[in-house]
């Protein structure tokens, strides 16, 4: 696809989509949303880039090795955060009793490890979606 209007509009709109995705991820414990919708929005922004600029530039923007490392790294980060609960003598994914600081209600840095968990889920979902789409496009050629 080689259309000037599509390229220009997507170049204009992609930063806002990504900003909204990051907003949804980081406000996962305060407002509707969370890791899964935010990650889906982030992944959709890269998919839009690939659609507008072609598969090669999309691969350059988000190579397979980077998305693969993000995917595995996010899930390892999630499991390690859960393991902190076992480490301190509680159950898997224990929040307050494992010693995570709770912070002030309503602030971004509150709720113990929930922001960190949401960040991991968002990265995992977004990179999985990008990997899926890029694999599908690549087999087409």
């Amino acid at each position: 696809m080689d259309d000037l209007i599509v390229k220009y509009i997507s170049r204009l709109i992609i930063p806002f989509i990504q900003l909204y995705g990051i907003f949804v991820i980081f406000h996962g414990h305060l407002s509707p949303g969370g890791g899964f919708p935010g990650g889906a929005i982030l992944g959709a922004s890269i998919i839009l880039y690939t659609l507008a600029f072609g598969a090669e530039r999309g691969h350059e923007k988000m190579p397979h090795r980077v998305s693969e490392k993000l995917e595995s790294g996010a899930i390892i980060w999630y499991i390690l955060l859960g393991m902190v609960g076992i480490w301190t003598g509680n159950q898997f994914l224990t929040n307050q009793a494992a010693g995570f600081p709770m912070g002030e209600i309503g602030a971004i840095l509150s709720g113990g490890f929930i922001p960190l968990i949401t960040l991991a889920i968002g990265l995992k979902v977004g990179s999985t979606m990008i990997t899926l789409f890029h694999t599908m496009i690549k087999e087409e050629q």
Binding site: P32, F36, P37, A40, A44, I47, F133, M136
Partner: protein, 79 residues
């Protein structure tokens, strides 16, 4: 608000029937995207903005793109 709900659900049923009856798969995918968008509005009216956000991003966005990619690899018309 009740009337809006009824109109949206009627549109939803119409979309579902149209997806089943269309022979052109690309048109079916586009109708399915409209279905997803109306479903997102309905989730919002049912007071679950969380699911509405997910439906709008996954159902109307990513699923449509995946279906279009699959159709571009196979044939467009249903036998």
């Amino acid at each position: 608000m009740q009337i809006l709900n009824v109109i949206l659900i009627l549109f939803l049923i119409l979309c579902a029937l149209a997806v089943e009856r269309t022979k052109d798969l690309l048109s079916a995918v586009i109708i399915f995207a409209a279905y997803s968008l109306v479903m997102a509005v309905l989730w919002l009216l049912l007071r679950s903005p969380d699911v509405a956000m997910t439906e709008a991003a996954i159902g109307a966005g990513v699923t449509t793109i995946m279906f279009v990619a699959v159709i571009s690899r196979t044939r467009r018309m249903e036998k």
